[in-house]
């Protein structure tokens, strides 16, 4: 009996083989097995032989939408920065997409970063991906030498220990609170759709922080980012971050200092989060790839909550509904522009 993931991997291989063989796509973007336990590597298959290496597991934590604009560009004839693309059909890319990844593709389409006609999306309803920090914690930070995945459990082995853990217990926070696990747009489907999930307290983590006083919240934020090494893995893995020159790289004017001074790190994280407002799908890639374990996903999660409460909007669900920050209506709420201090609440 093969596991759910093995079946998914098999179907992805099959679809990719067919797409590559028929020349419908020039490249197929998916995942392949990594070299250390629990690591999966984003992988571009160029031919049928490569397609055999495609795989799937609960460790596919990097949002593949991130690679799409670059991959599509790599298939276009070289041109100057502002020159329009050449006329006529351009080569296509096949790509695997879970719920959130497909929603990011919708945002990319809305923001003219990818052309829907040039991507063949292979939808995979997501069962949630594993948080390797939770996994490490579950074995008391001991070194893991192998992980064997079953449908609902993980068999973890290390030097002198072996442990079976419940898969859902170590699933990432964003996946545990995800209400849209199914791909929103797709051309092929692997498995069957599971439908939206109902999670009443899905913003609980944000509410806990909201309940703190201003000072406590600031301290929490400072503490959270204190270990940041400014490697920009969070920025670079994000499918929303595609500016030709990021504000942190600008030198005229220089918006933000470059070293590890706390004030600069804080500014980077605040501005990064705000750039994602109304666009972030909570795919959790930023948090998954952070080498220093910063929970920066909570910053964008707060903005998602605001966006939902203020504009009744969740990004990437419908290509026809414009992103809230690219449009306006006269009925938009504006009372948040000034902070209201109720009488008696002044400090």
């Amino acid at each position: 009996m093969s596991t759910v993931n093995e079946k998914i991997a098999g179907q992805i291989q099959q679809i990719a083989t067919q797409l590559l063989e028929s020349k419908e796509v020039a490249l197929f973007l998916g995942y392949t097995q990594g070299t250390v336990p629990g690591a999966m590597q984003p992988f571009v298959a160029r031919d049928v032989e490569d397609a055999k290496r495609l795989s799937w597991s609960s460790f596919c934590v990097v949002n593949l939408a991130n690679y799409l604009p670059g991959l599509l560009r790599s298939l276009e004839p070289p041109r100057r920065p502002n020159e329009p693309p050449p006329e006529g059909p351009l080569p296509k890319v096949g790509v695997v997409a879970t719920g959130c990844w497909s929603r990011n593709m919708v945002v990319q389409i809305q923001e003219n970063q990818i052309d829907r006609e040039r991507v063949v999306i292979v939808g995979v309803p997501s069962r949630g991906m594993v948080d390797r920090r939770k996994l490490q914690e579950s074995v008391g930070q001991r070194e893991i030498t192998s992980i064997q995945e079953d449908d609902n459990s993980l068999l973890i082995r290390g030097n002198g220990f072996e442990k079976v853990i419940n898969r859902w217990d170590v699933i990432r926070d964003n996946c545990q609170t995800c209400v849209h696990p199914d791909p929103v747009i797709y051309d092929r489907l692997v498995g069957s759709l599971s439908g939206d999930r109902n999670i009443p307290d899905r913003f609980r983590q944000v509410e806990e922080i909201e309940a703190l006083s201003v000072e406590e919240r600031w301290n929490w934020f400072q503490e959270e980012i204190s270990s940041c090494i400014r490697c920009y893995a969070c920025r670079n893995v994000c499918p929303l971050c595609y500016c030709p020159t990021c504000f942190v790289d600008d030198s005229r004017p220089q918006w933000v200092g470059k070293s590890k001074e706390q004030v600069d790190t804080a500014l980077f994280h605040i501005v990064r989060a705000y750039h994602c407002a109304g666009r972030c799908t909570d795919c959790g890639s930023c948090e998954s790839v952070c080498p220093m374990g910063i929970k920066m996903r909570l910053f964008t999660r707060k903005l998602q909550k605001d966006c939902l409460e203020l504009f009744d909007f969740e990004p990437g669900l419908d290509p026809d509904i414009p992103l809230p920050l690219t449009t306006y209506s006269t009925s938009d709420p504006e009372d948040f522009i000034l902070t209201q201090i109720r009488k008696g609440d002044e400090k």
């Binding site: 070299t35 590597q41 070194e143 490697c231 470059k258």
Partner: protein
């Protein structure tokens, strides 16, 4: 210099005493669930993780940022634009529990930084108490890069963990001076023979050094770079966690008439690293940047200085967001 021994139960007392003369740092479990360098605190229990802590000890030699000098930027000031050396009267630092790979990285970094007064001052000011490795992690590969789990290069003292004690071997004069206290005793014969057994373990082949003989252009144009770079997201995780990545950028920061010139970490993974003022970028594409990282470590650096610029600590393997495994790249390079 003869080895001594110390009971495990006394190590904390010893480090506590050293705190009088040094800022002592040791690996410690962070709130985030990994080991990282932190000031040693008596009474909290000494933690000795297998393998290397999250950050390398380069954080002690290349501070973020290094202030190169101060200046005043107001024209009316008679001292305007006169450069003032930064205050460098820091206390001496002592790093406890440094693994052989990290200790060796300081020696390698010293080669390009030989004429650099800032680095050399910190090196003079920082003592390294090493901890030799009995076990390796799955991401360790020091043997491939000319190192060894029991290598003592770069250390002042080398400790080997035994059942209830550590065998302490002075490697430098200043290391010797650290163990004059009566806490240390003469090692038992059995302790010495145990350690010698560990030292005698075979090191395997120093695979990386063979790269020096490889033809530069054949490596440069090898087809595998495309596949390696394809999954890279061009972040700085590998370079910033790497103990032997030492590249920097320099900037002047001025605020309200006061200024300073700082040196801070840069990464060859970032496009800005090679961006010219003209706008031209010789490493404008991802593949060129990815290739450079490995070529620098395994070809350019050894061609110039001898050893490869990698100590096999495995941090980049452990934390690369997309699992680019330097061991695999090295194998690819060896296969050319």
């Amino acid at each position: 210099m003869k080895p001594l021994a110390i009971e495990k139960t006394l190590v904390e007392d010893w480090l506590g005493d050293l705190c009088d003369d040094f800022d002592v740092f040791s690996p410690s479990m962070t709130k985030k669930g990994f080991y990282d360098w932190a000031p040693f605190q008596s009474g909290t229990g000494l933690q000795v993780p297998t393998g290397v802590p999250k950050s390398s000890i380069k954080t002690f030699f290349f501070p973020q940022p290094e202030v190169l000098f101060h200046f005043k930027a107001s024209v009316s000031d008679p001292d305007a634009y006169r450069l003032k050396e930064p205050d460098c009267q820091e206390r001496k630092a002592l790093l406890f529990g440094v693994r052989p790979c990290d200790a060796r990285s300081v020696v390698l970094n010293s080669m390009p930084y030989e004429p650099d007064p800032y680095f050399q001052a910190r090196r003079k000011n920082t003592l390294i108490v090493g901890l030799l490795c009995k076990e390796s992690c799955s991401t360790c590969f020091c043997k491939w890069t000319g190192g060894s789990p029991t290598g003592r290069e770069g250390m002042d003292l080398a400790l080997m963990e035994l059942e209830d004690s550590y065998l302490v071997e002075p490697v430098s004069e200043r290391g010797q001076a650290l163990i004059s206290s009566t806490i240390f005793r003469k090692p038992k014969e059995q302790e010495i023979s145990l350690v010698q057994e560990l030292y005698a373990r075979k090191n395997g082949e120093d695979a990386a050094s063979t790269l020096r003989g490889k033809e530069l252009m054949a490596l440069y144009e090898a087809p595998f770079w495309n596949q390696v770079s394809q999954s890279c997201i061009n972040c700085g995780t590998c370079t910033f966690l790497c103990p032997t990545c030492y590249c920097f950028d320099i900037q002047d920061e001025t605020l309200r008439g006061k200024g300073r010139r700082i040196r801070y970490w840069d990464s060859c993974m970032f496009p800005l690293f090679t961006q010219h003022a003209s706008g031209h970028n010789p490493r404008g594409d991802k593949i060129k940047r990815v290739r450079n990282r490995f070529m620098h470590k395994f070809k350019y650096f050894p061609d110039r200085f001898g050893p490869v610029s990698c100590v096999g600590c495995g941090r980049c393997v452990r934390d690369c967001p997309v699992n680019i495994d330097i061991r695999q790249v090295l194998s690819n390079m060896l296969g050319v």
